[in-house]
């Protein structure tokens, strides 16, 4: 009897530095980095986390993707800086006087630090997204015993992002094909965004609903243990990283409680 070749979906393995790391391990590392960005005081936390994330992204060849995430965060970054620069409560060291407004040094300092923390923790999470396929993440969560319904919710939420982007792009193309000028000035581009909201949101919800029904029709809720089609790698390096992350977490909390760097 000849063996049927397994489909690519089952046998495909991620390759490359960090990309081949177990998704669960990457989630734990990212969680540790998020905690470190907030628990370590002053500039140390964000600086250490940003350095670690950037170095990993560089070796994993995901720097460009990370830069896109940074660009997407720029409106929040800008607003945090502005609010703190001008409105930090109790700040009394003005940089200059601009009529009724007085930007302060302490406001600028605090704003920059807040932005650094924000970028550190968001880039740690973004790196997981950039180096992990949804299939692998869900398969690993399933292997670790997370409930099927929870996995479906996670999967639907994560998959909704690219689907929504794709749908929005197509609707925008349809608008352009029907004469809406979205090229050139920014207000022209903005005009096309409002009509997108309805079909994009309702379409995404409808798709999730349809997928739920399709899964139910294929015995999604049936009792019993399911066989995993693919099992993500969980090798020695993954276990080492996991333990190292847990030890680092204990050390982090210890340092924070002892207040040596506080």
């Amino acid at each position: 009897m000849s063996m049927t070749r397994l489909p690519d979906y089952v046998v495909r393995r991620p390759s490359g530095f960090y990309r081949s790391t177990n998704p669960g391990t990457k989630l734990v590392v990212a969680a540790l980095e998020v905690l470190a960005a907030f628990l370590l005081p002053g500039w140390i936390g964000p600086a250490v986390v940003l350095a670690a994330v950037l170095a990993t992204a560089a070796v994993a060849r995901r720097l460009r993707g990370l830069a896109t995430f940074g660009l997407a965060a720029s409106p929040i970054v800008g607003s945090i800086l502005l609010v703190n620069l001008f409105l930090l409560p109790g700040a009394s060291d003005p940089i200059a006087r601009l009529g009724p407004l007085a930007p302060t040094w302490s406001g600028l300092w605090f704003g920059l630090q807040t932005v650094a923390r924000l970028l550190a923790f968001s880039s740690a999470i973004a790196l997981v997204y950039l180096t992990t396929t949804v299939d692998d993440l869900l398969a690993d969560l399933s292997r670790r015993g997370l409930g099927r319904r929870a996995i479906f919710v996670v999967g639907a939420a994560v998959q909704m992002v690219p689907l929504t982007i794709e749908r929005a792009g197509e609707i925008l193309d349809a608008q352009r094909a029907r004469g809406m000028d979205t090229e050139g000035r920014i207000w022209r581009r903005a005009r096309g965004v409002l009509p997108l909201a309805g079909p994009v949101v309702f379409g995404a919800l409808t798709e999730v609903e349809e997928r739920t029904m399709a899964l139910e029709a294929r015995a999604f809720s049936a009792p019993g243990r399911k066989t995993l089609l693919r099992v993500p790698r969980n090798g020695r390096i993954d276990r080492f990283l996991l333990w190292a992350a847990l030890l680092a977490l204990v050390a982090l909390v210890g340092i924070r409680v002892a207040g040596r760097l506080g």
Partner: protein
């Protein structure tokens, strides 16, 4: 072999007056030239390789091919939604590359394959108004265009309904109407008969026939070989991003071309197969088979 005129669905000569047709005054119909166009998507997928076509004003052209053969990618170059990575697309001899899509939209109308990714207005009339409004049409002319477009696809009774309350086939017809109302001299339809019942297919066929009779260029992507054979004077078969066959239905669906069609995962329409088996020659449509049989053995 049959002539296009022997088939009632094949559009009459360009410029003839058809009652109930949408445009009163047809704008200048441009010629379209696709010159050695290649295109690769940003992630690296090569969708078109060195595609060259010349489409004369008023021509009816069907593009067929298996999924992923580059059909939709090709037509998105004709209205500027995609810009070639190699080669160029010319409208009346002018390169479309520097022209905004919004400006090209006045000349090349494109109805997308999936209606759910192009409908966004709160009700059917507003959806149809969207395109003409962007072209600066207002008042009585706008109302007339909406009414005629609704009539062309048989949606007059649902003018105030929400598009998403309509069934799939009617949403598809609405997407077609929303492009018809723009009265573009070039009309491109991506899979217009998919999801349509026999009545819906007949409506689409009428729309194509009327547009062609008005002298407009009609280009359609389709997997429906019967629709293609009956409504279009020219068929382009695409395979792996290249043009594999290009000619009238009688040539593209002739027995000699079947190996090429099958290599593109296409089946010739049933009348073509029946005609070949009966020794009637190239008979891409049912009408052509009947005509060949009626002509008797001496004409075979």
């Amino acid at each position: 072999m049959t002539s296009p005129g022997s088939n009632p669905r094949v559009p009459p000569a360009p410029g003839s007056n058809v009652p109930g047709s949408i445009p009163r005054v047809l704008p200048h119909v441009p010629s379209i030239e696709v010159e050695a166009v290649s295109f690769a998507y940003p992630e690296g997928t090569r969708a078109l390789t060195d595609v060259s076509l010349r489409i004369e004003p008023g021509e009816t052209l069907a593009i067929v091919g298996q999924n992923g053969s580059g059909k939709s990618t090709l037509v998105r170059h004709l209205n500027g939604l995609l810009r070639p990575t190699g080669g160029r697309v010319l409208l009346d001899g002018a390169d479309v590359r520097p022209v905004h899509v919004a400006h090209l939209a006045a000349r090349v109308g494109l109805a997308f394959q999936n209606p759910d990714r192009q409908l966004f207005a709160g009700h059917v009339s507003a959806e149809i108004e969207f395109g003409p409004r962007n072209l600066g049409i207002r008042g009585a002319e706008l109302a007339e265009r909406v009414a005629l477009a609704l009539a062309a696809v048989g949606l007059e009774s649902v003018a105030t309904a929400n598009p998403y309350d309509l069934g799939y086939s009617r949403r598809k017809l609405l997407a077609l109407a929303s492009v018809l109302a723009m009265r573009t001299p070039v009309l491109i339809l991506d899979e217009p008969t998919t999801g349509q019942d026999a009545r819906g297919v007949a409506r689409v066929q009428d729309v194509v026939a009327r547009a062609a009779a008005e002298g407009r260029t009609v280009i359609a992507i389709s997997h429906d070989m019967r629709f293609v054979a009956e409504c279009f004077r020219r068929v382009v078969v695409m395979r792996a991003g290249r043009v594999a066959l290009d000619g009238p239905p009688s040539a593209v669906f002739a027995e000699a071309a079947w190996p090429e069609l099958r290599a593109s995962y296409l089946e010739p329409p049933l009348p073509a197969v029946a005609g070949a088996r009966l020794g009637l020659g190239a008979t891409p449509t049912g009408g052509a088979v009947v005509a060949a049989l009626a002509a008797g053995p001496r004409n075979r």
